[in-house]
Structure formats: structure tokens, C-alpha cells
Amino acid sequence: MDRAERIGIGVALVGHAALFALLSLSLFSARVPKPPVAQTMDVQLVKDVGPTSSAPKVAQEAPAPSEAPEQDLPDDTTPPPPAPAPEPKPTPAPPKPVPTPPKAKPTPPKPEPKPQPEPKPAPVKPEPKPEKPKPEKPKPEKPAPEKPAPEKPSKAAPEKPSKAAPAKPSKATGLSSDFLKDLPQDKPGPAKPKGSRLGSDFLKGLSPDKSPGKATAPHASAVSARSMSGLVGLIAARVKPCYNPPAGGADAGSIVTTLSIRMNKDGTVASVTPGAQSGVTGSNSAYAKQMADAARRAVLRCSPITGLPPELYDGGWDDFDFRFKPDQMQ
């Protein structure tokens, strides 16, 4: 090892040390991972998460336990019938004889219903008719709608024929739109005259007199829709930094996964269950599961989601659906 070699080793060591230092100080760094800094952010106006509920107070009168299901059915099914009402009007004059021959066109079903309605309407009608004249006299025309009755049974369940008869007259009298409102208000007094028209047991299940059933208010109504959207925006902003987009095809980011998230009151995530996905096309369907996993991981990784208004916990962010849009999370 002569002088030249010693010099060579010295120079080589110094050169390597210098190169190492340069690389460590990243003076050659062409990588500069700066782009994230310049990215624009969605700004969610979180102020909108108001503590007051502006939801319509639909649920104040809690559904009573013994709601009569049978009677509701005709109510639900009857709303469509009002339309047919105009049709029967022309027919009223020729009450029963007419339906059979002239309506023979639409009446493949008629043969069946007729046997039923004929016996029943006969007893029932006498009741409503006499009463209708009393409260609302102009409507004697409509008793005729009993002819629709034979038609409707064909659409509706066989139960109806018994109740359908009373229910339809109610609409025939023009109550169709206000029907539900009137019931609770009028019940104390005048409800019974109407009740006679509507059928004796029509009001049975509604228990208008301050029903004791204090069922919990429906979930969604506890926090207003506006508050909820603000809340979801806030949660999205919290989760965004934790999202680590998986490697996927070009349009994998358009897969929107609906996560049903349950959270504890301290902000920790109790469970995340990926649910339905939208935006899945033939080209990105291979990534659907991957995107669902990534969304789930993002929420779990951010687990203590802080800063959520505690007053909106119940019915708000205790259990909610979160539409995870990968395109807006990057």
C-alpha cells in the first residue's frame, strides 16, 4: 500500500461521505412531495350544525301500540281511489243495473267482486247514506261510488270489501285530503258522527285522547336534515386526512360506498359496516371491495373523531349512514 493508494482511499472515503451527506440533506431530492400542500380543500360550514332541531314534529303523537292495522290499510289504499270517483259520477243515476252491462269492458274482475259487494254494500249503504245528508248534504251524489267499490276489491286485498265500503264513502264525501287531520282534532266531540260513516271501528286504534304510547321519536327526525348534512360534512372533513387511497383503476374513485357507522359518545368509532355501493361500473367493479375496505379503514383510523357537537349525539351521529365519496376525500 503505497502513498497513491492511501491517497486514493482517503479521497474515496471523503467523496462517499460527501455524497451521503448530500443525499441525506436531500439536496438532490427531485421527489419533493409538496403537491399535497397546494391542494384545495372543501370547506364545510360546520356552523350549520345547530343544536336546535328544525325537523317537522311529525312524531309528537307517538304511534300507539294497538294500532288497528286493518283499518289503516283501507286508508292507504284508498288515496288512489279518489281518482276513480269522477268516473262513477256519470254512473250514479243507473245505480246497480248499469255497472254490469256497460262496464263490461274493463270488468273482467267484476264477476268476482260483484257477488261480494252486492250483499254487503246493500246493508252498509243504507247507513252512510242517511247520515251523509246530515253533515254534508251536497254529496248525496257520491253514494254511487259504491260502484268503484266492486272495482277496487280487484286491486286491493280481499279484506277490503268489508271496510272498503265504509272507507270509500269517506272520500266520496270530499274528505280525502283532510281525512287524517280531521280525525284527531274532531274526535272528542263530533268524531262519532263521522265515525259512523267511516265504520264503527275506524278510530279504534288511533287513540286520539292523548295516547299513553310515548314511543321514541323516529330516528331521523331527532336532528334536522340540515344539521345532519352539516354533521356529515364535518365528519367527512375529519376523516379526509386518514384516507389513504388504494391503488385502483382510473375510475375506481367514483365508487361511492355507503358506510353505516356507529359511534360512541366519546367520538370513538364503535363499528363501521360497508353497505351499498354506487358508481360501480364494469370497468371498476374489480375495485369495489377494495374501495369499501379503504373507506372503512379511513374511518377506523381516525377513530376518535373529535369536535362533534355532543348535543347532536342522540339521533345524530350515534348511528348514521355516511356516503364515502373517494373523489372528494383526496
Partner: protein, 233 residues
């Protein structure tokens, strides 16, 4: 589970410096990296040391031979350069020593003397060339083996990365990327050591070939001179 995933991702994304890559690596990959770094240092030491020495020797040999052909008296010239370590001087010394031994006796065997002169000077030339090309084999070895060693480190590191995927049940690129980056760093080091070694090997061996050719020419010329001297005696 959350922090375990998060930390390596953050560390891998933030730090790409060689030191960080080295410290994150597996022990096998670390050994490979250290070895390759040492090989690189050695390569450059040889390049610098031998390169400068070869250049210096070539220049001095040219001057020495010029001085020799210009000299009036070979014996006198030899005595003044007796302690010179140049290859040309060594060859000259071998020739003069053999000449003196062969012509010391009363009877001179001309053909035998010529053959002995040629043999000793050829041997001296070969010895000098051997001495000069001493470290070139190291360059050749590093140049050919370095990439493979680096590749070994890379394969090992990538195997380890995939094992960590399996362990974490996590397919995201963030889990794999740091491991693959540090593994590829081993290949980079292998190439970093091997490329200069190959270039330097070709360049130095070319320089040594030139020097060897020059020594042969010098030896042949000196041999011709001595043969002429034999004719005269």
C-alpha cells in the same frame, strides 16, 4: 392496529434519505448495503490510487527511456539510475545485470547470452506488469458481482415487504412502498459500486496494456543494442 399502520406510512413518505432507508432495512439487507458501500469505497480508492500511479509511471517511463536513448554510456547511466523503481529501470537493471554476468568470463557464448538477455528482460517486464495490474482483479470482481449482490438484497427486502402485507392483512400501497424502496436501494448501491468499477477496469487495463507494450519495445530495443555490442566484441 391503527397506529401500526400509520407510522410506517408517515415515516416512509417523509424520509427518503439514505440513512433512513438503511435504518429501516432488514438485517440481511443492511449487511448487503454495508458490503456494497465498502466495495464502492474500495473501488474508488483503487481508481484514484492506481489511476494516478499509472499516469505518473507512464510519464516517467517515457522520460526515462528518452534519457536512456540519449545517454552516451549505458553503464554510467545505469549506475546513476540504479535505485530507480520505474518498470523501465527494472527491465534495464535486469538486462545490465545479465549482460555483466554473461560477459564476465573470458569466453563469451553469444547466442546463449542473447537468449538469456531476452529471457531475463521478458521476465522483468512480466513481473512489472503483474505488479501494476495487482488490484485490477478486484475491480473486475466488484464490477461483475456488485449488481448481483444488490439484487440479492432487493429480493430479500421485497420478500420481507410481502410478508408484512400478509401479516397486516392490508393491501394498500402504503404498507409495501417503504419496504420496496429500501429493497431497491440495495440494487442502487450495487449498481453504484459496479458501474465505476467496470469503467475503471476497462480504462486501467487499457493503460496497463499500453505500458506493457512500451516496456516490451524498450526491452527489445535494449536487447538489440546489447546484441550489437556482442557482435563488436
Amino acid at each position: 392496529m391503527t397506529p401500526q399502520i400509520a407510522t410506517p406510512i408517515v415515516a416512509g413518505a417523509a424520509t427518503m434519505s439514505p440513512l433512513a432507508l438503511f435504518l429501516q432495512a432488514d438485517i440481511v439487507v443492511k449487511i448487503v448495503m454495508v458490503g456494497l458501500l465498502a466495495a464502492s469505497v474500495w473501488t474508488w480508492a483503487i481508481i484514484i490510487g492506481h489511476g494516478t500511479r499509472l499516469k505518473r509511471i507512464a510519464a516517467k517511463s517515457a522520460k526515462f527511456e528518452r534519457d536512456f536513448w540519449a545517454a552516451e554510456d549505458i553503464d554510467n547511466f545505469y549506475t546513476t539510475h540504479r535505485n530507480n523503481t520505474l518498470p523501465s529501470a527494472k527491465v534495464l537493471g535486469a538486462g545490465v545485470t545479465e549482460w555483466r554476468r554473461s560477459t564476465a568470463g573470458k569466453k563469451i557464448d553469444r547466442d546463449g547470452t542473447r537468449a538469456r538477455l531476452a529471457t531475463t528482460m521478458g521476465a522483468a517486464t512480466a513481473a512489472e506488469v503483474d505488479r501494476l495490474s495487482d488490484r485490477l482483479n478486484i475491480l473486475a470482481t466488484i464490477g461483475s458481482v456488485g449488481p448481483f449482490v444488490g439484487l440479492f438484497g432487493t429480493v430479500w427486502g421485497i420478500m420481507r415487504s410481502f410478508t408484512s402485507i400478509a401479516a397486516q392483512q392490508n393491501t394498500s400501497l402504503g404498507v409495501v412502498a417503504p419496504g420496496i424502496a429500501e429493497a431497491l436501494f440495495a440494487t442502487a448501491l450495487g449498481l453504484f459500486a459496479a458501474i465505476p468499477a467496470v469503467i475503471a477496469y476497462n480504462r486501467l487495463s487499457h493503460g496497463i496494456n499500453k505500458l506493457e507494450a512500451r516496456l516490451h519495445r524498450f526491452a527489445d530495443g535494449f536487447h538489440a543494442t546489447l546484441s550489437r555490442e556482442l557482435e563488436d566484441e
